[in-house]
């Protein structure tokens, strides 16, 4: 079974960061010179990077290095202090509210703490946004929600409340909820950090499945290095608000160039 994501009819082809024409792929997300401070603490320091359509990019690095902040900015939960962020050729911050809503429709996010709505059933959690935001009919939304629940292996939990589910089950519902909006990009923010160890594998297997069987663009922050190696097209090593090293997973995990990367991987692997 596959998850169909909204196809972009005419993806804009942007020049690369150095002004050269794009090398055959289309750029979906681009951050330029993005800086974010909390008080005296600089979380992101003049960050540049881009993500191409359909690619799976993983951000690794020590806690507090600003990885999560990037995802939160893309989801418009935090603003950058400086720099520009573009999604699918459209600029965020500043952008008129209408444009922000349009950009958000292209992005789905799964949170570390699931953030399911405890006052709604599982089914309603998934159908709420398609019905009120996309204007889907309730029947259509429910049919789709049931398909997604089957995909995540929780077809029998439609009428359960989030509080009746295990952490792993809740996170799988959250993934289904994000996919129900048919986003082009899926942001995964340490989605297994809050789970009991024995529940981690199930969620990661599901995400591997989704990564393999769909053309959705993924941007993950994770501490699961095995998972990062399996699904990534590109891995970015972060430290102190900067990208220390970027490359294919084989390169980063097999033969990292930077001392800092080796140090970090040595500590977590």
């Amino acid at each position: 079974m596959s998850v169909d994501t909204a196809k972009n009819p005419e993806p804009p082809t942007n020049p690369g960061p150095d002004g050269s024409p794009g090398s055959g792929t289309t750029e979906l997300i681009r951050l330029e010179n993005v800086t974010k401070r909390f008080g005296d603490h600089t979380v992101l320091d003049g960050l540049d990077f881009s993500v191409d359509t359909g690619k799976h990019v993983t951000l690794i690095g020590p806690s507090g290095s600003g990885k999560t902040t990037i995802l939160r900015m893309l989801m418009t939960l935090t603003r950058p202090d400086e720099g520009t962020i573009t999604v699918d050729g459209e600029r965020l911050f500043p952008a008129p509210p209408k444009q922000v809503r349009e950009i958000r429709k292209k992005i789905g996010m799964v949170f570390q703490q699931f953030n399911l709505f405890p006052n709604m059933t599982v089914l309603r959690n998934i159908t709420e946004a398609p019905v009120t935001v996309l204007g889907m009919s309730r029947d259509e939304a429910e049919a789709r929600a049931r398909e997604l629940l089957e995909l995540v292996g929780l077809a029998d939990k439609c009428d359960a409340r989030p509080s009746q589910l295990s952490g792993g089950q809740q996170q799988r519902v959250a993934i289904a909820r994000a996919l129900a909006m048919r986003p082009q990009v899926l942001l995964l923010d340490e989605v297994t950090s809050a789970l009991d160890p024995e529940l981690v594998a199930g969620v990661l297997d599901l995400l591997r499945d989704i990564a393999r069987s769909t053309d959705i663009t993924m941007l993950c922050v994770t501490h699961e290095m095995g998972f990062a190696r399996d699904i990534s097209d590109q891995v970015l090593m972060f430290d102190s608000g900067r990208v220390v090293e970027a490359g294919s997973p084989e390169k980063i995990f097999g033969d990292p160039e930077q001392e800092r990367t080796r140090e970090f991987l040595g500590a977590v692997l």
Binding site: F38, G39, T76, L77, T78, R79, F93, A95, P97, V100, R101, R104
Partner: protein
């Protein structure tokens, strides 16, 4: 409004302030006696104190005032001066609320402190006086501040009995002028100013007491502020950045 009418209002303010101070003193005494009694080791003491609290919290302050003014005199054969009747009714009622504050704050003191007192072989009364109360009192102040404002508002009830407080003088002026908007606006403003002054006073008191037990208000406020900064990124503006 004429000068004479303003004098009437000022007399009312004076009566209100007197009544407020007297009933606040009585209420404080009742709060501590009953509140401490509710943590007593004998169940009968706890029960009596609890019964008092339930009864006086359960009844309406105005009904209590009527009772003290009309039922007490014939029943016991003595007549109270209105000021004392008002003080008694308000002090007993608001003291019952205050006893809950005292009890809550005493219960919130770290049990290790009590054990420390036992280890030093203090008597129960010494423990209460030297260890429990000094730590519990600063924690009570914000709640007592709210209760004091409630008591200030409660003093207006005695006007129903014809006692010449601020609310009553407002009624007199209304009758004299046959016009109500202006005088009641003034009366409300005066109550508000008194309430504002009381709040300031209690805040100053809290600061001094907290310094006495080594709690740094500045640090606490700083921590609270930092916590708020963490959470206001979203929601403060009614849902998200857009």
């Amino acid at each position: 409004m004429t000068k004479g009418l303003w004098e009437l209002v000022l007399q009312g303010v004076w009566t209100t302030v007197q009544l407020l101070v007297l009933s606040a003193l009585l209420a404080t005494a009742v709060s501590f006696v009953v509140g401490v009694a509710r943590t007593h080791r004998l169940w009968i003491v706890r029960f009596v104190a609890g019964f008092y609290t339930e009864v006086f919290r359960g009844t309406s302050a105005l009904v209590m005032i009527f009772w003290v003014f009309f039922v007490l005199p014939p029943a016991f054969g003595w007549q109270l001066v209105p000021m004392w009747a008002g003080t008694l009714a308000l002090g007993l009622t608001y003291g019952a609320y205050g006893s809950e504050i005292v009890r809550g704050a005493l219960n919130a003191v770290d049990p290790a402190q009590r054990e420390g007192g036992i280890a030093l072989s203090f008597t129960p009364w010494q423990r209460m006086r030297l260890i429990m109360l000094p730590q519990a009192v600063p924690e009570m102040i914000p709640s007592f501040c709210n209760l004091l404002i409630e008591l200030l508002k409660g003093t207006a009830l005695v006007s129903v009995m014809g006692m010449g407080d601020l609310a009553f003088s407002g009624n007199l002026v209304r009758l004299a002028l046959q016009e109500s908007a202006e005088i009641y606006t003034y009366v409300l403003l005066i109550y508000f100013v008194i309430a504002f002054a009381l709040t300031r006073l209690m805040r100053g008191l809290e600061k001094r007491l907290k310094r006495g037990v080594g709690k740094d208000l500045l640090n606490e406020a700083g921590a609270r502020e930092a916590k708020r900064a963490e959470t206001t990124g979203v929601g403060a503006a009614g849902g998200g950045v857009a």
